[in-house]
Amino acid sequence: MSVRAADVAAAVALESGEGSALAHTLARTARRNRLAVLAGVTLVAVAALAAAAPWLPLLDPDAVDTVKRLRPPFTEGHVLGTDEFGRDLLARLLWGARVSLVAGVVTAAAAMLIGVTIGLVGGFYSGWVEHLVMRLTDIMMAFPYIVLAIAIVAGIGPGLRNAMIAIAIVGFPLYARLVRGVVLSLREREFVEAARALGARDGVILRRHVLPHLVSPVVVAFSLDVGAKILATAGLSFLGLGTQPPTADWGSMLATGRQFVILSPHVVLLPGLAIFVVVLALNLVGDALRDLLDPRQRLR
């Protein structure tokens, strides 16, 4: 009993120490990395605008007005101009942001959930489970990323939901590999052995002793992955395999605008710029998170 009390006290001391150290590092990172802070603010702003789109004084993103087609930016009534059907580009960009952002976050989260589970199981249990899991990820990685996604969409049919399913499936081996590597090294550590000697069941060991170690590498991978998933969804939409008309998403806006690029470059430039800015911001925040959470990388 006394041993446990001492343990708890030590853990609390360690935790509070870690807490203030974390706050300190956070402050230092923010000071040193103004760009990442700016990127974070941009992301929050874009997400807030996208979330608030139904309540903002925007025009109907699907309202066709063929008289006013392909108007350049700063025309009266249309700040960012109109597309080939005379639809308001600002409204379509903001409504499209909802689709693109949600697609990026949801597919990355789904890939993460599947991948972390598989990686945990594959790393913790040696033997046939490990072999099965690793061969499965090997096979998935024997395809170029986007080609496998395209093949899956070919099988289950085009559409935003199916494109997201395909991208999530294709994305999980990344997390499975990452998590398995960490779990393999943890499996042999003394604290896991100690927990097992005390009679803890596998579920408890995984949840209480292994999972906490996975948080920072997975958070970093996830933050960088959301951007990659936004690019992938936009790519499938661009090929006509993702979002179907008239729904706006940044990739499909680019695809349809392509035919009018000579006369009205803004129809293509604006959605591309939107993807670029958001993914760039995500990458900057991801890099800063890595600096913050993974001290070994910071030394480089």
Binding site: R135, L136, D138, I139, A142, F143, P144, Y145, I146, V147, L148, I150, A151, I152, V153, A154, G155, I156, G157, P158, G227, L231, A234, G235, F238, L239, G240, L241, G251, L254, R258, V261, I262, P265, V268, L269, G272, I275, F276, V279, L280, L282, N283, L284, D287, R300
Partner: protein, 316 residues
């Protein structure tokens, strides 16, 4: 090395088996009935049943899989529903164009990437190093298809220096000059993101090597700086660089799908997308199979090259 080669080839068997199962399943997961697509809605039930037996669709899936695998092993990928031609011929004809595009992009990204990486590493924190860091961040964040469109607008439509799309000019084209002119924009677009990745990795590998004692010794001996960087430095940094180039080769092969669509380049990528939109499954299957096989072979090649460069790997 022979032992390693045998081991590596043996490991290929389960991967290829898995790849074939996935490609086969993709066709059979599809909601549409191939019989409907081939016969249309006017067909009688008897016609449909006959075609179904003819195609072997009434047999259990494992039987169908084994038969399909047998056909594939003999180079018979079936007939395209849409073009009414043998899939293999069509895919191979298009694959040449994809290989040309991917190969050119790989040469570009390797050459420019290594040069940029070496230059950044020999002067860390110089303006060149900073610019390449920013460029790599941009490269990772920019949709390649968008970059392609922007390049097309600037260099083909505004400046008129290069052709906008296709592989040859429709009239009076067809020579090597024409082909190269058409190749520039797609190859640069495809290579753009990967140049920055190769450059960053080369820089990291070079910095690690340039910090070693033998580099200091070489400098102390009075070896010229250029020779130190290239002969003593780059040679020893090559192993991680070769690996990343291998990864990039596969990445470029996949990325070619999008780039081909932007520039109407007549490769496997455009064929695959057309096949999907036409619901021509044998064609899509053939395209995916050829691309996946070449990807597996590239990875094998990289592993072997790696083992050849670093003998320690063979004995693990």
């Amino acid at each position: 090395m022979k032992r390693y080669l045998a081991q590596r080839l043996l490991l290929l068997v389960p991967v290829l088996a898995g790849v074939s199962v996935i490609i086969f399943m993709v066709l059979h997961l599809s909601p549409g009935d191939p019989v409907d697509i081939m016969l249309g809605s006017q067909a009688t039930p008897e016609d449909r049943a006959r075609l179904r037996t003819q195609l072997g669709l009434d047999e259990p899936l494992p039987v169908q899989y084994v038969r399909w695998l047998g056909h594939v092993a003999r180079g018979d990928l079936g007939r395209s529903l849409w073009m009414k031609r043998a899939v293999l011929d069509e895919v191979l004809a298009r694959f040449k164009a994809t290989l040309l595009l991917t190969g050119t992009a790989l040469v570009l990204s390797t050459g420019a990437g290594i040069a940029l990486g070496v230059a950044s590493a020999s002067r860390p924190h110089s303006w060149l190093d900073r610019t390449s860091a920013v460029a790599s961040l941009f490269g990772a964040s920019m949709p390649s298809f968008w970059l392609g469109i922007v390049l097309m607008v600037v260099f083909a439509l505004w400046l008129g220096w290069l052709p906008a799309s296709g592989m040859y000019a429709p009239y009076a084209g067809g020579d090597l000059r024409d082909l190269l002119a058409h190749l520039v924009l797609p190859a640069v677009t495809l290579a753009a993101a990967s140049v920055t990745i190769v450059a960053r990795l080369t820089r990291a590998a070079m910095l690690e090597v340039l910090g070693q004692d033998y580099i200091r010794t070489a400098r102390a001996k009075g070896v010229m700086e250029g020779a130190v960087v290239l002969r003593h430095g780059l040679k020893n940094a090559l192993i991680p660089i070769v690996t990343v180039i291998g990864v990039q080769a596969g990445y470029l092969l996949g990325g070619a799908v999008l780039t081909e669509t932007v520039f109407a380049w007549p490769g496997v990528g455009t064929l695959m997308v057309q096949g999907i939109l036409a619901r021509d499954f044998p064609l899509v299957q053939g395209c995916v199979l050829v691309v996946a096989l070449s990807f597996v072979l590239i990875n094998l090649g990289v592993d072997l090259l790696y083992a050849w460069l670093d003998p320690r790997i063979r004995y693990e």
